[in-house]
């Protein structure tokens, strides 16, 4: 089962932060308050798109071919992600 990383508090809808990191090998536990990286705060579909885009060497044309979508559709998806990232940056 693929577990989704929860981003918002189920109780008050506030942005969640990382409190604990755990090493599976030696069972070391690091405790503290860490903010999630901006990319991790994006919806999973956006994260997948960013990965596909990077794998295509940042080429919208190749990304469009790989996703079987038109060039302007892929450009619009990218512009929407940029807007969401800018919004997250502003809120931080």
């Amino acid at each position: 089962m693929n577990k989704r990383l929860p981003l918002k508090c189920p109780s008050c809808e506030n942005q969640l932060q990382v409190q604990q990191l755990h090493c599976e090998k030696c069972e070391t536990v690091v405790t503290g308050i860490y903010s999630l990286p901006v990319i991790s705060q994006l919806p999973i579909e956006d994260q997948r798109f960013i990965l596909d885009f990077v794998k295509a060497s940042g080429s919208l044309k190749i990304t469009a071919q790989n996703m079987k979508l038109s060039y302007p559709t892929v450009r619009n998806i990218l512009d929407d992600i940029i807007n969401r990232i800018n919004l997250l940056d502003t809120n931080e």
Partner: protein, 178 residues
């Protein structure tokens, strides 16, 4: 092919591909208009008269496409924050016109080739034209939305203004050229 593709093929087809398919559609439509005497003298008009040379039909179809493309692209350049491409606006708006082939194509059937005013044949052709026009406008709207990445009120208002301006310019151009 799913229903979504019929009213919004532009998520899959745009740019040079839509331009090539659209040009082929425009040439075929113009040729059928010529042999059936169907005039598209304005984006929202249809007339029947078999007395014009081929170039008249070509000018009508070309100006219907070019003016709306120019106004939609200008709207995109002014209002969109995305880096829009002229080939997307030209290609997708050309592809959006393909349903307009339905009415002239129906007129190749012998009973629809010549008819009297207010006959059922005339109403049938007019009905087909209206249906294909609505389909074309929906396609044109989606073409504009995707090519220029506009949304909400910016999209709706600029689309309506572009349609009105292109209708006026097409009428004036056809009056001047033909």
């Amino acid at each position: 092919m799913n229903n979504r593709f019929l009213y919004n093929p532009f998520t899959k087809i745009a740019g040079i591909k839509s331009f090539i398919i659209g040009i082929a559609g425009l040439i075929i439509t113009t040729f059928i208009c010529f042999i059936t005497g169907t005039h598209f003298n304005g984006l929202l008009n249809i007339d029947f008269a078999k007395d014009s040379p081929f170039w008249v039909y070509l000018i009508e179809n070309l100006s219907n496409w070019i003016f709306i493309s120019i106004f939609l692209h200008l709207s995109g350049l002014i209002l969109s924050k995305s880096k829009i491409r002229v080939i997307d606006t030209l290609g997708t708006s050309l592809l959006a016109r393909i349903p307009l082939i339905i009415a002239p194509l129906t007129r190749t059937i012998p009973i629809f080739q010549s008819f009297i005013i207010q006959s059922w044949e005339m109403y049938f052709i007019t009905g087909l034209y209206l249906a294909s026009l609505i389909w074309t406008i929906i396609l044109l709207f989606n073409a504009f939305r995707i090519s220029c990445n506009l949304r909400y009120e910016k999209l709706i208002i600029s689309f309506i203004i572009s349609m009105l301006l292109s209708e006026v310019c097409t009428k004036l151009a056809l009056k001047f050229l033909i």
